[in-house]
C-alpha cells in the first residue's frame, strides 16, 4: 500500500517537474555579466559600495522590466563585483578574472587611480569598456589612446575654472586661498590644477599636504590661519577628512569662508562636522530636490540603509549611459557599443546628469570625459540647499 502511494507521488512529482522545466526553458534568459571593480575593504569601502550599489540599482531596474533585449535575445543582468583593495596589483587580478574568466564586456570602476592604472593594461587590449573614476590624466591619455575607457565624473580639470569663476563673482572681496589636501594621487594631481585656476583669477594661493590617515589637523589649520587666508578650500578631501577639517578649523577659531571644490556627496561631511559646518559651501554632483533625481534617491534608501555615498548616483548615471548605448547598438560587440556611447553626446538625457556631453579632446586626446552640470550647496543646520547650478 505504502509503496504504491509513494510511486504515485513520485510520478506526479516527476511530471510536475518536467512541465516546469519546459515552461522555464521557454523563457530561458541568457545571463549577461556586468563587471564591477571597487575597493570593498579597507578605508575606501564607502566609495566602493557606492559604486557597486549605483550599478546594481540600474541593473535591477532593467531586470525588473524583463531584462535587456538585444538583437532578438533577452539578457538577465548579473553584477559581478570584485574587491581591488584600492591597489593596482589586486585591480589587475580582478580585471584578469572579469575579462578572461567571467567574459564581461564592461567594467564599472575602479575608483581611484591605483586601481584604474592597474586594470587598464588588461581591459584596453581586450576591448573591454571601462567606466572609471580617478583623477590621473593617464587614465584617458595613454598608449591605447583611451579607446575603451570613459571617465564619468568631472575631474578637477573640468570643474576648477567654473568654480573659481563663481567664487570670484559671489565673494569679490576674497583675496587669499588656503588649501589643505592629502598627498595621495587625487590630492597631488588635483591641487596644482585648482591652484593654477585660482592664480589665473588673481587669488593668492597657499597649499599644504598631509599624509592620508591623519585625523588631527589643528596644527595645519593654525599654520594656514597664520597666512591670513580668506577662503579655506577643502578641494578633493574625502568626506571624513573634509568633515574633520571643517570641525577643527572652526574649533580653533577660523572665521573665514570654507568651501569645498570637489568631492561628491555631502551627508557624511555634515554628520561629522555637525553645527560647525554651517555657512560652508560645497561642490556636489546631484541636486536631490530635482524631480529627475528623487526616484533614484528613493530607490537607494529603500534598498540600502545608511548614508548614500556620492558615487552611487554617478555610477547609476554611467550604467544607464552604457545600457542605452547597448540598446542603440543592438549588439554585444564592444566596439559598436563604444561608438554608440560616443554618439550619445548631445543625444541622450541620462537620468541623473541630464544631457550627455563628452569632452576632453584638448586635454587628453580623446573625448571620453563626461562633462556634467554640478551644483554648489550651502550647509545650514544639517541641511544642504542648492545655491548655484553651474554648467561648465
Amino acid at each position: 500500500m505504502r509503496k504504491r502511494k509513494f510511486g504515485t507521488i513520485a510520478t506526479r512529482a516527476l511530471c510536475a517537474g518536467a512541465i516546469c522545466a519546459v515552461a522555464l526553458s521557454a523563457h530561458a534568459q541568457e545571463v549577461m555579466k556586468i563587471g564591477v571593480i571597487a575597493s570593498l575593504s579597507g578605508g575606501g569601502t564607502a566609495w566602493g559600495l557606492g559604486l557597486e550599489r549605483g550599478v546594481q540599482i540600474a541593473a535591477d531596474q532593467i531586470n525588473e522590466q524583463g531584462g535587456l533585449k538585444l538583437a532578438g535575445k533577452t539578457y538577465k543582468l548579473q553584477v559581478v563585483p570584485y574587491d581591488d583593495q584600492y591597489n593596482a596589483a589586486q585591480a589587475k587580478t580582478a580585471a584578469d578574472r572579469l575579462v578572461n574568466r567571467d567574459d564581461v564586456k564592461v567594467i564599472f570602476g575602479p575608483v581611484g587611480s591605483p586601481g584604474a592604472m592597474g586594470s587598464l593594461p588588461v581591459t584596453q587590449p581586450a576591448k573591454v569598456i571601462q567606466f572609471v573614476d580617478g583623477y590621473a590624466p593617464a587614465i584617458l591619455k595613454n598608449e591605447w589612446k583611451g579607446a575603451y575607457v570613459f571617465r564619468i565624473n568631472n575631474s578637477t580639470l573640468e570643474f576648477s575654472e567654473p568654480i573659481v569663476d563663481w567664487l570670484k563673482k559671489t565673494y569679490p572681496n576674497a583675496k587669499k586661498v588656503g588649501m589643505i589636501a592629502p598627498n595621495d594621487a587625487t590630492g597631488q594631481a588635483g591641487v596644482p590644477i585648482l591652484a593654477t585656476a585660482y592664480k589665473n583669477k588673481g587669488f593668492d594661493v597657499w597649499t599644504e599636504h598631509y599624509e592620508r590617515g591623519t585625523k588631527e589637523f589643528t596644527p595645519l589649520v593654525l599654520r594656514m590661519m597664520a597666512q591670513n587666508v580668506d577662503v579655506f578650500d577643502l578641494n578633493a578631501n574625502a568626506p571624513g577628512e573634509a568633515g574633520l577639517l571643517v570641525k577643527q578649523a572652526r574649533q580653533v577659531g577660523y572665521k573665514g569662508l570654507i568651501v569645498q571644490s570637489g568631492g561628491a556627496g555631502i551627508d557624511e561631511l555634515i554628520a561629522i562636522a555637525g553645527p560647525l559646518a554651517n555657512n560652508m559651501m560645497k561642490y556636489d554632483v546631484i541636486d536631490e530636490s530635482l524631480p529627475r533625481v528623487q526616484p533614484f534617491v528613493a530607490l537607494y534608501h529603500k534598498k540600502y540603509n545608511g548614508v548614500m555615498n556620492g558615487l552611487a548616483p554617478v555610477y547609476y548615471n554611467a550604467a544607464n549611459i552604457y545600457f542605452e548605448a547597448m540598446r542603440r547598438a543592438d549588439s554585444t560587440d564592444s566596439t559598436k557599443i563604444r561608438d554608440q556611447i560616443e554618439k550619445l553626446g548631445g543625444n541622450y538625457d541620462a537620468p541623473i546628469f541630464g544631457k550627455v556631453v563628452w569632452t576632453g579632446e584638448k586635454n587628453y586626446g580623446v573625448n571620453h570625459q563626461l562633462l556634467h552640470t554640478f551644483v554648489i550647496k550651502e550647509v545650514q543646520n544639517g541641511k544642504a540647499t542648492v545655491k548655484a547650478v553651474i554648467t561648465p
Binding site: A88, V99, N100, S113, P114, M117, P121, A138, N183, A185
Partner: protein, 343 residues
C-alpha cells in the same frame, strides 16, 4: 601553565617561540626529489593544459609573492621578523622601472640594479638595526618601511609621487605575452627557491639556525653573529627587490600604495601561518594567502575575519605554522591526556 611560561620567556628562545631542542619540523617527504620533480613538471605543463589568461595571471602573482615571502623567510630564520619588507620590494620595483624607462637599460641590467639597490640600503642600515631583538626590530622595520613609502610619495620628480609610474614595459616584446612571462616568472621562482633551500641546508644554514636559537651561545662558539645576520639581511632584501621589479614589469604600473605596510604584513602573515622554521612554510603560506581570496571573492569581509581567526589559532597552538601541523595534533592529544589525568 606558569611553569611553561617561565621556560618560554627564558633567554634560550629569543621570543620567536618554544621549540624542543632537536625537533626538526621539516617535512622531509615534501622535499624528496621525486615529489619536487612532479610539482615542477606540473607547473611547466600548466599553460599547455589550461591556457586561461586568468589562471596564468594568478600563477604569476603567486610566484612573485612566493619569491618575496621566501626572501623574508631567510631573514626570519635568523630570528628577526621584518615588517618593512614590502618597502624593499618597492625600491627594486622603482629602480628597475626607472632604469628601463628613463635610462633605457636592458631588462637583465635593470633587474640587477633592482637587486642591488635594496641590498645596498640593507647593507647600510643592517649593522645598526640588526642589533635589536624581537619586538623592537619589528617596530624599527615598520617605521623604516613607512619612511621609504613617504619618500616614494613625496619625491615626485623621480617616483611620480602618489600617481606612480605607469606604462612600465614588459621585459621584452616576447615576454609581453602571458605564456612566456609565466615561464619567466616560473624560472625565477624555481631558481631562487632552490638557491635559498640550498643555502639553508648548508653549513651557512646551520649557522643561521644557531643564531636564531641562541645568539650568545653562537657568539661564544665563534660564529660571527652580526656579519652573518647582515649578510642574510642584505641577500633577503635584494631578492625582495627582484620580486618587486618583476611585479612592476608584470602589472605595468607601480605606485606607493603597492608597497606599504599592508603588503609587508601580508608577507609576515604568510611566513607565520605557513611555517617559520622551514622553507616549505612560505610556500604553503603563499598558496594559502593568494589563492584563498580567489575562492572567497564576494565575501571580502568574511575573508578577513577568517584570516584573523586563523592567525589566532596558529599562533596560539602551533607557532610552527601549517608546515608544522603535526605539533597541533600532538598538543591537542597532550591537552586531552592532561584533562584525563594520564599525565
Amino acid at each position: 601553565m606558569s611553569k611553561q611560561s617561565t621556560i618560554d620567556s627564558g633567554a634560550l628562545h629569543q621570543g620567536i617561540g618554544p621549540r624542543k631542542l632537536g625537533e626538526r619540523p621539516a617535512r622531509r617527504w615534501l622535499t624528496h626529489p621525486a615529489v619536487l620533480a612532479v610539482v615542477v613538471l606540473a607547473l611547466i605543463a600548466l599553460p599547455l593544459v589550461a591556457p586561461d589568461k586568468f589562471i596564468l595571471s594568478v600563477a604569476v602573482t603567486t610566484f612573485i609573492t612566493a619569491i618575496a615571502a621566501a626572501s623574508l623567510h631567510l631573514i626570519v630564520r635568523t630570528g628577526h621578523v621584518s615588517l618593512g619588507h614590502a618597502a624593499f620590494m618597492g625600491i627594486g620595483a622603482y629602480v628597475s622601472a626607472i632604469a628601463t624607462m628613463q635610462m633605457n637599460l636592458a631588462f637583465p641590467l635593470a633587474l640587477t640594479l633592482g637587486f642591488l639597490a635594496p641590498a645596498a640600503l640593507a647593507f647600510l642600515i643592517g649593522p645598526v638595526v640588526l642589533r635589536l631583538t624581537g619586538k623592537y626590530f619589528v617596530l624599527v622595520t615598520f617605521l623604516l618601511g613607512e619612511i621609504v613609502r613617504t619618500v616614494f610619495v613625496n619625491w615626485s620628480s623621480v617616483t611620480g609621487g602618489s600617481s606612480g609610474i605607469s606604462g612600465v614595459p614588459a621585459p621584452s616584446s616576447l615576454f609581453a605575452q602571458p605564456v612566456p612571462f609565466y615561464y619567466l616568472a616560473l624560472a625565477f621562482v624555481m631558481v631562487i627557491l632552490a638557491f635559498i633551500g640550498r643555502l639553508l641546508t648548508s653549513e651557512i644554514g646551520r649557522t643561521i639556525e644557531s643564531i636564531r636559537e641562541s645568539e650568545p651561545l653562537a657568539r661564544c662558539s665563534g660564529v660571527p653573529v652580526l656579519s652573518t645576520k647582515v649578510a642574510v639581511f642584505v641577500l633577503g632584501c635584494g631578492l625582495a627587490g627582484i620580486a618587486g621589479a618583476l611585479q612592476g614589469h608584470f602589472v605595468h604600473y607601480i605606485d606607493p600604495t603597492s608597497f606599504s605596510v599592508d603588503q609587508s604584513l601580508n608577507l609576515v602573515v604568510i611566513n607565520v601561518v605557513g611555517g617559520m622554521y622551514t622553507l616549505i612554510g612560505p610556500i604553503v603560506g603563499t598558496l594559502f594567502i593568494v589563492l584563498l581570496p580567489e575562492f572567497l571573492r564576494g565575501y571580502v569581509e568574511l575573508q578577513h575575519v577568517f584570516f584573523g581567526i586563523v592567525l589566532i589559532i596558529v599562533m596560539a597552538f602551533f607557532s610552527g605554522g601549517i608546515a608544522d601541523i603535526r605539533t597541533l595534533f600532538t598538543r591537542l592529544s597532550q591537552e586531552r591526556d592532561t584533562r584525563r589525568g594520564t599525565r
